[in-house]
Point group: C2
């Protein structure tokens, strides 16, 4: 099924020259045909990029007209000039739209600490504005324009029936590295043609992020630019969030989970997508804490890269996750095989289990506690020599 | 200066067959000529090895007679049989010493989840007992017998004057990987011929660990077996810890710091020893939190491996460390060069800075805050392709 752009939105993605390679798009614009309702969730880092500060001042809002985002330079740690550049990006798009700069959102992703080439950005915004469209090509170009070291665009969508009408939810995201969950990670933009107040969007988005982008990690390094933005045009005429109706919220959550999983799967150098299910904890928060600790252990991640069913690394990571338990409360399965049974190792065939890990891109890790009903599903990737090679030589 | 064993101790390190390679020593015994005063600090992991549970029951104590430790198998996650095996190791050495099993300490390090080959361990304890000596060769053999993937033994010592007498403090340690500080990491045994009560040893050791093993990280994965044990024979006749005299405590701290730094320097695959100084925080705990977060970031560690002065990764790691600050509170130096000055990037020559990182095994990272006088010195290593290769194929 080909994804379509929800009604009331037009998109474009162009190459403006921030990235040296002229075939790589590096600037994306999303606009609403009329005022959009919008909410966002942002990085919890104390060091946040200039565009994040900008958006925090503007959201939630019911009068957003557009969003401009560039890749290649993150505009983080850039001092007062960085703040001025982020505001200027808003003002440039606002000029084309005939609205106030405070009705435009701005995002950036890329290298930290470099100033934006504002002449190129300015020309890029003009070029993108001229190309705006609701075609599937425009969606593809916009999804590509926000990528950095990602190898492929990440888009996902759902069509739901609401108020007797068809409502679309379509999202795009970028990931690759510096992915550590802390309320919001990376860039993701989700559009819908449902009608929704900013406060409804905010609560739907927070719940969705909690079960998606908050449950994904590449190496646990929370970025300065993490932003997830949900925008509603209302062009379908169908109202989201009628009393007790979770159709809209569930669909937004599913789109976010698709994008989060795609980010883990396309992480720098990844050769395995690892899904970690933790169940039977005292609370969902405890389960997430265990899942995140396991997901961020380089020893766990290198073992999966090497197809080594070295389960002791997973159990020991759970041990230092900071939740209370005894070894006899815990069992472990890898790809369905029980390797550790309430505190005692099982007999298993390591050659067979190793082959199963090697032969599939997906690895499933299940940690089963006997303490309650708290659970979490978390996505990460393995740690490969390619990740190290790639990240050893990024800016120089 | 050749290190010597403090008076009142005899050591041995032998090959008993836990490691397949017959040239690799895998069992170390330390005994006191008479009863030893001893204290220990152990892993905070909820999944702790059988020997750790054993030692926790025994320490602090003023009637310890010896310590037996093996490498190759960690005796962690081994269920009730593992507990019996740890107790049996104590009983076997106790038989030779003619004391109770509760007067013997036991440590293990190696692969998690495998049972010890107790026939080999038993023969090894007998062989080691027959070889006990206070020669420098015995110290070397004992230091080698506790290693796993370490490439070299780690020993350090100090000679101090106390009570008008000469007092020796000598320590040995093993590190290599699964090193994440959490009150105590890895194995380290420190011997002294000072006279000291168990409670004095405990307080001296806790303070020393706080500034040494608690400030070192390879990949942040806290192990199931972390144990640091300080033993005093009293054979010098000099009493440690007279009122207001910190000579003994300082010397123990220095030995622990030497060993901690040696662990970071000899980490699996490491090509750089990274010293992180964080100063100007509201508290020492805040400074340590920042240092540890920077030290555990794979993005920071791969950048140093690649000699990439990609300072944005360091600043962004500080950003998610969980302490309150503004960007204008923070400056950063790498190898003495100011790269980030109270929230704003400086002009610097990346080629020159890259060459400086590449040409030295030591990298110095300084994070300077303007918030108070809290500080921390922390040691870690870079993350190399060799680390990944090595850890991708450990058990299979």
């Amino acid at each position: 099924v080909e994804l379509t752009i929800p009604g009331g939105f037009r998109l474009a993605g162009v190459h403006c020259g921030i990235k040296r390679n002229a075939t790589k798009r590096d600037l994306t614009v999303i606009v609403g045909d009329s005022a959009l309702s919008a909410a966002g969730v942002f990085t919890t880092s104390r060091v946040c990029a200039a565009p994040v500060k900008c958006n925090r001042r503007r959201l939630p809002s019911d009068r957003i007209r557009g969003l401009v985002t560039n890749s290649g330079v993150s505009n983080a740690c850039t001092g007062p000039q960085g703040d001025r550049d982020a505001e200027r990006m808003c003002a440039l798009l606002a000029q084309h739209l005939g609205c106030g700069p405070d009705q435009v959102l701005v995002c950036s992703t890329g290298v930290i600490g470099r100033l934006l080439p504002m002449d190129k950005v300015s020309a890029g915004i003009a070029a993108a504005y001229a190309e705006l469209s609701n075609s599937s090509t425009a969606l593809d170009n916009a999804a590509v324009g926000i990528l950095t070291t990602d190898t492929r665009p990440k888009v996902s969508g759902r069509t739901i029936f609401l108020d007797g009408r068809t409502v679309r939810i379509t999202g795009l995201a970028k990931g690759a590295a510096m992915i550590g969950p802390n309320m919001a990670t990376m860039l993701a933009f989700i559009m819908t043609d449902a009608t929704a107040t900013p406060s409804l969007l905010e609560s739907v988005l927070r719940a969705a992020v909690d079960q998606s982008f908050h449950c994904v990690s590449v190496e646990g390094h929370t970025s300065t630019n993490d932003s997830v933005i949900l925008m509603a045009s209302g062009s379908s005429g169908a109202a989201a969030g009628g009393a007790g109706d979770s159709t809209f919220a569930n669909a937004v959550c599913e789109v976010c989970q698709d994008l989060a999983r795609a980010i883990a799967d396309d992480a720098e150098g990844a050769s395995h997508l690892v899904t970690i299910d933790v169940v039977g904890c005292r609370s969902d928060a405890d389960a997430r804490q265990v899942a995140r600790t396991v997901a961020n252990s380089p020893l766990v991640k290198t073992a999966i890269y090497g197809a080594d069913p070295n389960w002791g690394r997973i159990i020991s990571a759970a041990g230092y996750a900071g939740i209370e338990f005894s070894e006899t409360d815990l069992s472990l399965r890898i790809n369905g095989t029980l390797l550790y049974d309430r505190g005692t190792p099982t007999e298993f065939d390591p050659t067979f289990e190793s082959a199963r890990i090697r032969e599939s891109r997906d690895t499933h890790v299940e940690l089963v506690f006997t303490l309650g009903s708290g659970k979490c599903r978390f996505w990460t990737c393995d740690l490969t020599q390619e990740y190290v090679r790639f990240n050893a030589d990024y800016t120089t």
